[in-house]
């Protein structure tokens, strides 16, 4: 293992390029291209602000993805704690210096980008916990003493994000963290305890929810309750997708989005717009690309030797899949509107940055799969 590891550690750039997972890279690129078209449509068929900005971001972050991939996995392993702490610090800064938009304080105004640290935390927490469980032995996993640190590492960012308030993102952060804990082998009973605790504290938590959050949950349970209020989004999204039919209304012909019936069409509802214009076949194509990406990440997880790499890849694959499922479930009216972007396709720098970073580390696992960790 040492021997092979030392050989592998001297990879040339050529080796690294050939080490890339081609299916994954092509799928990412295809989703990127699809998102250009979708964004062009949201701009009303013009090469306008959102489209330009989205393409630029994709190019920058796609390049970043390659750079991250080529960096040794050991570097990411060693930097896991600092990365986590920096993002945590940013989250604390958001509390004090963050920009507020539509009642929620989520963004840090940097000069070139409005950064949303909660998006980065989705990847940061997985990275942190993967390293944590890599280091402790399997015998220690279920000792209560060893459960305290991950629980704290998970709860602090979740609480910080929930109070922004941003229910959707905090749920996705928590979910990513829990997947790592689960994969590491923590017994079912601890999850049961946590679940019970959650159930009992839910009524208290609900009393802290903002009225709009309560109404979202109630509206999901019965969308006709408030057809022009919170239920409006679900209803209009379903109309758009349903009216797309088998083949869609055609590129730039999505009347629902063109006539402004679709809310947040650049961001959370980008899939709705695409689905209206390209129909069932288009939707299935996008969904399959996402499944393909998930499958490739899991596949990379299989091939990685280290438990850090495995934990990271499996967890990120699961988290990535859940981001997609939550967004689609939301626009299809299967779950409440929680405010979760669709990876790569949704307009938004921080979300794309986080996904590209996350996928970059996955790719680094693939390229440096034989490298020793520690």
């Amino acid at each position: 293992m040492f021997k092979s590891g030392s050989i592998q550690s001297h990879l040339t750039l050529r080796d690294k390029i050939f080490g890339l997972d081609l299916i994954l890279v092509i799928s990412m690129f295809l989703i990127g291209v699809i998102s250009f078209f979708a964004m062009y449509s949201t701009d009303g068929g013009q090469f306008a602000y959102h489209t330009k900005s989205h393409i630029l971001r994709f190019m920058v972050f796609f390049t970043l993805f390659f750079i991250v991939s080529f960096v040794k996995l050991n570097f990411w392993y060693n930097s896991a704690i600092p990365i986590y702490l920096v993002i945590l610090l940013l989250l604390v800064l958001v509390k004090y210096f963050g920009l507020t938009s539509s009642g929620s304080q989520r963004w840090l105004g940097l000069y070139f980008i409005n950064l949303q640290p909660s998006e980065l935390m989705k990847v940061g927490l997985i990275l942190f916990l993967a390293k944590y469980y890599h280091r402790i032995s399997s015998g220690d996993v279920n000792r209560v003493r060893y459960l305290v640190q991950p629980l704290i590492a998970l709860l602090i960012p979740v609480i910080l994000v929930i109070t922004q308030p941003d229910l959707g993102t905090s749920f996705l952060i928590a979910f990513g963290g829990m997947v790592v804990v689960w994969l590491a082998g923590v017994q079912m009973k601890f999850f049961t305890y946590l679940g019970a605790l959650f159930l009992f504290s839910a009524p208290i938590a609900i009393s802290f929810l903002k009225p709009y959050q309560k109404s979202r949950i109630l509206t999901f349970l019965d969308p006709s309750r408030d057809p022009l209020g919170a239920g409006y989004q679900i209803t209009q999204s379903k109309i758009a997708i349903g009216s797309g039919g088998l083949f869609g209304k055609g590129f730039l012909n999505g009347s629902q989005s063109y006539l402004d019936y679709l809310p947040e069409k650049h961001t959370d509802f980008i899939f709705t717009l695409f689905s209206e214009e390209f129909g069932f076949f288009g939707s299935m194509m996008v969904f399959l690309l996402y499944i393909l990406i998930t499958w490739r990440i899991v596949n990379i997880g299989h091939s990685v030797r280290s438990s850090f790499g495995k934990l990271y890849c499996y967890s990120f694959a699961t988290a990535f899949f859940v981001y997609v499922a939550v967004n689609m479930g939301m626009v299809l009216g299967l779950i409440p509107i929680v405010g979760a972007p669709l990876p790569i396709m949704s307009y938004g720098g921080s979300s794309m940055l986080a996904i590209m970073l996350g996928l970059g580390i996955v790719m680094s696992c693939k390229i440096h799969k034989e490298q020793p960790i520690g």
């Binding site: 758009a240 629902q256 006539l259 299935m284 998930t294």
Partner: protein
């Protein structure tokens, strides 16, 4: 670095747990794909409809209303081009200064400006606000002159109702804006709510509203989520409403209105065979055009506070005791019931005492010995007290109802009143008291509880004049049925040639074909002949209003008391003119013309006009003259079978 053995078991555990997660993912994939299938394939049709509902919105606009013409095709109510000014707030550069400029150009009042501003704030900035829906030509041209400085303002040429003269205001009615009550009453209006649409409120405008209103046109626009129009998709011009030709003669309407000028009252003229209402005028009149664009408060107050109630159609809503005009019916009823015969005489001394009450004849000195013909001709009250006493109120009321009193005359006129034909049952039910014999005597000369409309009196008289056949009054010509309407006239004409032997056969035939109102037509003919005396013989009540040879007609005067005279007033011989206006008698007159081969019936009522012979008969005389002069013209129209 971890030991490889520990790492091995750990990695196996991770793999196992990942397998469970993958299974869960598969379930989610099925969920999402299933949902996509259900939305985009199974329920696609439903959502496509919903999407179109979102996408398109219709703006309705009012079609031109059907035209109302008189018998000769002259327009009574039609449409004219109006110049409107619409403002689209969104298009204005500076709304306040624009409104200020418009205020100066059009001399708008502060109140009007306030209303416009309130309207603007209550609707979307791209919805047009109507600044004025009826600009004068000079205002319109002034606006067009300044148009380049008035961004956001649109001059629009539209159509609106116009009424050509006031004499037919009551029978034609008027249109106005749709009210909540209209929407409840008229179901067809629900799909008709277009900007600027008007609905008939009274008269024929109301009766024929559903046919005349036409089909609403619409423009279909694609709209965005905020309701803003993006582009026009389709346009439907709508359809003009159905036009109607009426039985009215505009010339007679105008003449009648002219004759009633300064008086309150009404003139009705009817074809005695066809039931065609040739004139139906109520006075004073009003300008129905004022209602089309919304009547102003001052005009409205003036109309409703006017002593003579200009808005009431007195021809069908004015209720008057018939006075002596009822005597024809009393005579017919008594003869038909064999209570008396034409030869029976009574002595009139000017008054009679019965049941402890004193009953007076209008002629203080008395008529002396009177038979029935003289009683009708000179309108002797004492004679008819006697007849009524023997006849009884219940038998009289049956005959009166047969001849049309107490019934609605014209369909679809909500403002029409039924009136009262009194009898013992009626009094018990409505007043809760039993009938006094004295009341029978009052009823016998058309006083007391009687309430009749001028049109009812006209119909009553028409059915006497045509020989006792039931007819139905009508205002609107009907192309398909015109032949049927001519047949009664033909039948009466043919009947003259029947011999006595075949006469009874004709009665059987007429009973089968027409509803006859008599048992013995001789009784009707007797009354008609007596009425000839009333107008054309010395001593007749309307002798002063007779017409020369070619226009000879026959009529019955009536003077109905508004209040009962006290014995003291009778002694003082107080003249009608000396009483306060409200207490003066109503003057009535019914007549048919020409006397030989009658064709038309007329009723005239002048409220508080005094005696029928002085106030009502002279009006009737002039109308009858004009009517007979125009008879040939009317016949020609009919024979030519001109387009109806």
């Amino acid at each position: 670095m971890l030991s490889s053995s520990g790492g091995g078991s750990k990695i196996r555990l991770i793999g196992r747990r990942m397998f469970i997660i993958s299974a869960a993912k598969a379930v989610v994939v099925f969920g999402v794909v299933g949902r996509l299938i259900s939305l985009q394939i199974n329920e696609s049709k439903k959502y496509k409809t919903l999407s179109d509902k979102n996408r398109f919105r219709e703006w309705k606009f009012a079609p031109p209303r059907g035209v109302i013409k008189d018998y000769f095709g002259n327009e009574i109510a039609s449409n004219k081009q109006v110049y409107q000014l619409h403002l689209i707030p969104e298009n204005a550069e500076n709304l306040n200064s624009l409104i200020f400029r418009l205020k100066n150009i059009l001399n708008l009042s502060d109140k009007a400006i306030f209303k416009i501003q309130r309207k603007i704030s209550s609707q979307k900035p791209w919805d047009p606000v109507i600044i004025s829906d009826n600009l004068t030509w000079s205002e319109f041209s002034r606006i067009n002159l300044f148009l380049h400085e008035l961004q956001g303002v649109e001059p629009i040429v539209s159509v609106a109702r116009i009424y050509h003269e006031d004499s037919s205001a009551h029978v034609i009615g008027y249109v106005s804006k749709i009210s909540k009550r209209d929407l409840q009453k008229k179901e067809y209006l629900r799909d008709m709510r277009a900007a600027g649409i008007r609905v008939g409120k009274t008269g024929l405008e109301n009766k024929l509203d559903s046919d005349m209103i036409g089909n609403v046109g619409h423009k279909r626009y694609e709209v965005n989520a905020f309701g803003k129009r993006i582009k026009e998709v389709s346009i439907d011009q709508g359809k003009m409403g159905k036009s109607f030709r009426t039985t009215l003669d505009l010339e007679l309407q105008k003449l009648s209105s002219e004759l009633l000028k300064g008086k309150a009252g009404s003139v009705c003229v009817m074809d005695i065979y066809r039931g065609d209402i040739i004139a139906m005028v109520s006075s004073p009149s009003y300008d129905p055009n004022k209602f089309v664009h919304g009547i102003n408060n001052k005009d409205w107050k003036e109309l409703i506070n006017h002593r003579d109630k200009p808005l009431i159609n007195k021809a069908i809503s004015g209720l008057y005791p018939p006075g002596s005009t009822i005597k024809t019916i009393v005579a017919i009823s008594a003869l038909e019931n064999d209570i008396t015969n034409t030869k029976t005489t009574h002595r009139c001394t000017g008054s009679i005492e019965l049941y402890g009450e004193k009953f007076h004849c209008w002629k203080k000195k008395g008529h002396g010995i009177v038979d029935m013909r003289k009683a009708i001709k000179e309108s002797c009250d004492i004679y008819f007290y006697e007849v009524a006493r023997k006849l009884g109120i219940d038998r009289l009321s049956v005959t009166a109802k047969e001849f049309g009193l107490g019934k609605l005359m014209v369909d679809g006129f909500v403002e029409e009143k039924r009136g009262v034909v009194p009898n013992t049952n009626w009094k018990r039910e409505k007043i809760g008291k039993s009938w006094y014999l004295g009341e029978t005597l009052h009823s016998g000369i058309g006083q007391g509880y009687w309430q009749t409309t001028p049109l009812q009196l006209c119909l009553m008289n028409a059915q006497v004049a045509n020989g006792g056949y039931e007819i139905k009054p009508r205002l609107v010509l009907n192309k398909e049925k015109e032949k049927d309407f001519a047949s009664l006239e033909q039948f009466v004409e043919d009947k003259k040639n029947f011999t006595d032997d075949t006469g009874f056969l004709s009665d059987i035939y007429s009973n089968f074909r027409y509803k006859t109102l008599f048992k013995n037509q001789e009784n009707i003919n007797f009354v008609k002949e007596a009425l000839y005396g009333a107008t054309n013989e010395v001593g007749g009540t309307s002798y002063g209003s007779r017409l020369p040879k070619e226009f000879i007609y026959a009529g019955k005067t009536g003077t109905s008391q508004v209040r009962k005279f006290t014995e003291r007033q009778r002694e003082l011989e107080i003249k009608n003119e000396d009483l306060p206006y409200e207490q003066r008698d109503h003057a009535l007159f019914v007549a048919f013309a020409p006397y030989k081969d009658p064709r038309y019936s007329i009723s005239v009522v002048v409220e508080h006009g005094g005696s029928g012979s002085k106030a009502a008969a002279p009006i009737a005389k002039k109308v009858i003259k004009k009517l007979l002069e125009r008879h040939n013209l009317r016949e020609k129209m009919l024979n030519e079978g001109k387009d109806i």
